[in-house]
């Protein structure tokens, strides 16, 4: 499995996710600057990392969604290359139209950093096959704009088609997201966007290893 991590101006979890990928897959990912025209051809996973691309100015992810590299990311998405968007990466995926809906300011209006409990809703995907449906996992969030919104029809469609991958466990929704949504997929289940940071939960010294299974799922599915 060969991952490519896209680095946008003011991405700041690019190194963290690279560390996790290296540790779990045994291969260090390619770090790809956003101004490049294309993702390396041999990449079989594209990761959009967390951070504050363009300072989160205007709307989180809005400007990064128009970065030169995104044309190729969108083209690769259409060809089925798996894409993982974490936090700011999720926001970029929504802004780029690769996932439905939008992420707006947390209901509290404050940034929130803490571990949250998530319920795994879909396990028959390349991102989550090492989890069990209904399993509760603990992964930290750290964001100011993680409040997922979409119109009712879109939300219903996501639910009906089983595209909600992760939900905040009842009572543990840190941002007001509609229907406690923490992570969603596209129809083909090749793209996952999620607000929590699995790369910060791959090491018991940090408080949790519950994020590891996500990367291991991908490793299993892609190699």
């Amino acid at each position: 499995m060969k991952a490519a991590v896209i680095v946008f101006p003011a991405s700041n979890c690019d190194r963290d996710v690279a560390t996790a990928l290296t540790q779990i897959t045994g291969r260090s990912p390619a770090m790809v600057w956003h101004a490049n025209a294309s993702v390396p051809g041999d990449a079989d996973l594209i990761v959009l990392p967390g951070g504050f691309s363009y300072g989160d100015y205007l709307r989180a992810g809005a400007m990064a969604a128009h970065s030169p590299i995104m044309q190729d990311v969108i083209a690769r998405a259409q060809k089925g290359t798996p894409i993982l968007g974490i936090c700011n990466g999720f926001q970029i995926l929504c802004e780029a139209g690769l996932l439905p809906g939008a992420l707006i300011k947390n209901a509290s209006l404050s940034f929130v950093c803490r571990p949250v409990n998530l319920t795994v809703e879909a396990a028959n995907t390349m991102f989550t096959n090492r989890y069990a449906v209904g399993q509760t996992i603990s992964i930290p969030v750290a964001h100011g704009m993680g409040n997922y919104v979409a119109d009712e029809a879109t939300l219903d469609a996501l639910e009906d088609e089983g595209l909600v991958a992760l939900r905040y466990t009842l009572g543990d929704n840190p941002n007001g997201a509609a229907r406690n949504i923490a992570g969603i997929m596209n129809r083909e289940r090749t793209i996952l966007g999620l607000m929590p940071h699995p790369e910060r939960a791959c090491d018991n010294a940090l408080g949790s290893e519950d994020g590891k299974a996500l990367f291991m799922s991908l490793l299993g599915a892609l190699s």
Binding site: P9, A10, N12, C13, R15, D16, T19, A20, A35, G50, G51, F52, Y54, G55, D56, Y57, S110, F111, V112, C113, R114, P140, A142, G144, H197, E199, R200, C202, D203, A205, L206
Partner: protein, 737 residues
């Protein structure tokens, strides 16, 4: 000021408006042997301000210990540097942004964070942790909530965007800060010991390069404002507030580190307070060089700026560098890639003068040494502040556990979760002790080592006895580091005091510094960087001045050789022996028990026995290093029972405690004697640990056993829940009001 006006000769009146006094003005005339023009006078006013020249504090700061075998760089550069082995170095410093944060809490605090980060990455270090030491007025004061909310979100917005975890700090509330809050931010960076960058501009004919954001008219005279006391018209000074742009700073960080991987740089310096003026003067002074600046080339945000404005602007996110000749293109490529401004704005010379050329005219021509080395130094008169009377009788409370419940929900002891959950403390994926413990612990990425970080000072002790208070601040930092198992290595300080022209305030300063120095010497804990903030006083409507409590905030850094051997404060298992290390006399003077329960702020603060601090600290750390102890907490504010309650709340496990055989129970449980720790060990090793303590001449006693969901004290008990609910609720409730 229009261009013509900046070229007019300066006057005594103008000098006074810029914050210089008559003698200083006379001195300028004598040293130059001519009258400076207004641009030159502006530059003098900045370089000779308290903020840049340390004119009131320097004679005292000189007495502080600053060296140790592991110190690579002591005070004098942008930040201090210590060696942590294997070629790794830690670069750190603390700095205040008190006045700007009072005027505009969000931007003031945010730009404070940005400024201290630049100090650290200027030296070639990647910031890996931030801390903040905050003091606000009374919780009920009408401004407090607004200021607290703004400061916290400002700190968070800047640090979070930078992707640097904010891992610790401290917060106090006291009426002395009603009109003058304190916002001290500390940045800790990681560098290679052989890749530290300094600020000296050496050689002649080398390009002087400006990078970062454009220069605007913001914050002109910010440095002189930082050195002027507050009055009711503080609000009039509002336009001097600057707006931070963490996005640009993040790019600047990455671009600087990328350039620092080459050898193109000769010297580099951030433009902080006093911007281009102090950056260029200090670089020239340190390198023994002259600098000629071409002001037309300075990237400008607004049209028609004068050289005076550009030199005094405090626009953020800017750096000045001297490059090796011929390396400009290489450097420019890097900064353009990161979408930053880059301009060659001058050249180093061998004249030892600062020359500014604007529109074809020399608008300033001053000798560097006069600006830098001839700045005034004052031995301000000082008197010892009156000593508090010894404590009179302290009545016993009806219920010890009732007091405990009240204390854990009091302003200075309540949980700070509402604050630190707004900070990204987990980014970089190396924070192995997050806020809430004695010290934060952050791994040195990819190694078995970790650094422990803490900020400490107890202003009420300093007010009662600045000398003891200074010692105690160092001792507490030492203790907090030892309690997680780290070897305390070095300190940064942020000395926040009132008006140094008042002998009593100067006395607080002199004595506190003496106390700091003595403690640092005794504990092998040198001070490698710091910052002084004076004139923290408010003119009250009744014509009186309110000075802040003397607040020498200490930032301590320690090292864990193996982070797998670390202690945290949480009780970890049922049935463990609770052991108290250190001697308990029941000192209640200046305690929180007195202040919160009896509404009294009197008595002398606790004595600090540096020998015991060292012995007990080494003993606890050695046990942790050896893997014999994983639960430890120092006793500080609130005393022994508060420390135990904090351990119980953190672990969700209670304890059964035995009361002392003799002495007053309330003095025993709430006294604030120093040099104490609570540790927990399995029953099976308790006896051995007590024997080890005995052999090391460290007082140690078994005082209880962990277990259950209650704290049980003789015939009384309280559930952890009954403590934790109010402990956690106090701050969110305050902020919701």
């Amino acid at each position: 000021m229009k261009h013509e006006d900046t070229m007019r000769p300066g006057t005594l009146e103008a000098a006074k408006q810029f914050g210089l006094n008559e003698a200083e003005w006379a001195n300028i005339l004598r040293l130059l042997n001519r009258t400076p023009n207004m641009t030159e006078l502006g530059i003098f006013s900045v370089m000779w301000s308290e903020h840049c020249s340390y004119k009131s504090s320097r004679v005292h700061l000189r007495t502080l210990p600053t060296s140790a075998p592991w110190v690579i760089q002591g005070p004098g550069e942008n930040a201090g540097v210590i060696d942590i082995g294997d070629g790794d170095a830690i670069v750190f410093k603390m700095e205040s942004h008190n006045h700007p944060s009072f005027i505009e809490p969000f931007q003031g605090a945010a730009t404070g964070v940005g400024g201290i980060m630049r100090d650290v990455f200027t030296m070639g270090a990647r910031p890996i942790a931030m801390l903040n030491a905050l003091r606000f007025g009374e919780p009920e004061h009408p401004k407090t909530r607004h200021l607290l909310a703004g400061v916290v979100s400002g700190i968070g917005s800047y640090g979070n965007c930078m992707g640097v975890p904010t891992v610790g700090g401290e917060v106090n509330f006291h009426k002395a800060y009603n009109g003058n809050i304190l916002v001290n931010a500390m940045c800790v960076g990681l560098a290679r010991a052989d890749n530290i960058w300094l600020s000296a501009a050496k050689g002649a004919g080398n390009p002087v390069v400006y990078v970062g954001s454009k220069t605007g008219r913001d914050g002109i005279h910010g440095a002189t404002m930082a050195s002027a006391e507050f009055s009711e018209d503080a609000e009039e000074k509002r336009p001097t507030v600057q707006v931070g742009d963490p996005f640009t700073e993040k790019l600047l960080l990455e671009a600087c580190l990328e350039l620092m991987a080459t050898d193109a740089i000769i010297g580099i310096q951030d433009m902080g307070a006093a911007g281009l003026t102090s950056a260029s003067c200090e670089m020239a002074a340190k390198g023994g060089a002259g600098i000629e600046l071409w002001m037309d080339k300075v990237p400008q945000r607004e049209a028609g700026m004068t050289a005076y404005e550009m030199m005094l602007s405090e626009s953020q996110e800017r750096m000045l560098m001297v490059l090796k000749p011929g390396r400009e293109a290489e450097a420019e490529r890097i900064f353009r890639k990161w979408e930053l401004d880059f301009a060659v704005i001058g050249i180093t010379t061998d004249t030892k003068r600062i020359v500014l050329r604007h529109h074809g005219e020399d608008v300033c021509d001053l000798p560097v040494n006069v600006l830098a080395d001839e700045a005034p130094v004052y031995e301000r008169p000082w008197v010892e502040p009156p000593r508090p009377a010894p404590l009179s009788d302290v009545p016993a409370p009806p219920s010890i556990l009732g007091v405990l419940k009240q204390l854990v929900a009091s302003p200075d002891l309540a949980s700070r979760r509402w604050i630190w959950e707004q900070y990204d403390y987990s980014v970089m994926a190396d924070t192995i002790q997050k806020p809430g413990g004695d010290a934060a612990v952050v791994r040195v990425h990819g190694t078995g080592k970790a650094v422990a970080l803490t900020t400490d000072v107890t202003p009420r002790y300093c007010q009662a006895d600045p000398y003891l208070g200074g010692m105690q601040a160092i001792a507490e930092a030492y203790r907090n580091l030892s309690a997680v198992g780290a070897k305390p290595l070095a300190v940064t300080d942020n000395l926040n005091f009132g008006n140094p022209q008042k002998p009593e305030i100067m006395g607080q300063f002199a004595l506190a510094v003496r106390g700091l120095g003595e403690a640092c010497r005794a504990l092998d804990f040198p001070i490698v960087s710091g910052n002084v903030s004076l004139y923290n006083e408010t003119l009250l409507p009744n014509g009186q001045y309110q000075n802040i409590l003397p607040t020498p905030a200490i930032g301590g850094v320690g090292l864990l050789r193996d982070w797998r051997h670390m202690a945290t404060i949480a009780f970890k298992a049922e049935g463990e022996a609770v052991i108290l290390i250190g001697e308990t006399k029941g000192h209640l003077g200046q305690s929180l028990y007195l202040r919160e329960i009896l509404q009294r702020e009197d008595g002398t603060p606790p004595l600090v026995d540096l020998g015991s601090e060292k012995r007990n600290g080494i003993f606890v750390r050695t046990l942790i290093e050896a893997g014999q102890v994983t639960t430890a907490h120092d006793c500080a504010d609130g005393g022994l029972l508060v420390a135990i309650a904090e351990m119980a709340m953190a672990g969700g496990i209670g304890a059964e405690l035995a009361a002392p055989v003799n002495g007053d129970p309330h003095a025993y449980w709430f006294g604030e004697d120093q040099a104490r720790y609570v540790i927990c060990v399995p029953q099976s090793t308790a006896h051995d640990i007590l024997a080890q303590a005995d052999a090391a001449a460290v007082p140690a006693a078994r005082i209880g056993t962990t277990g259950g969901e209650m704290i049980i004290l003789d015939e009384t008990n309280i559930s952890i829940r009954a403590l934790k609910d109010p402990h956690e609720a106090w701050l969110p409730d305050l902020m919701r009001r």
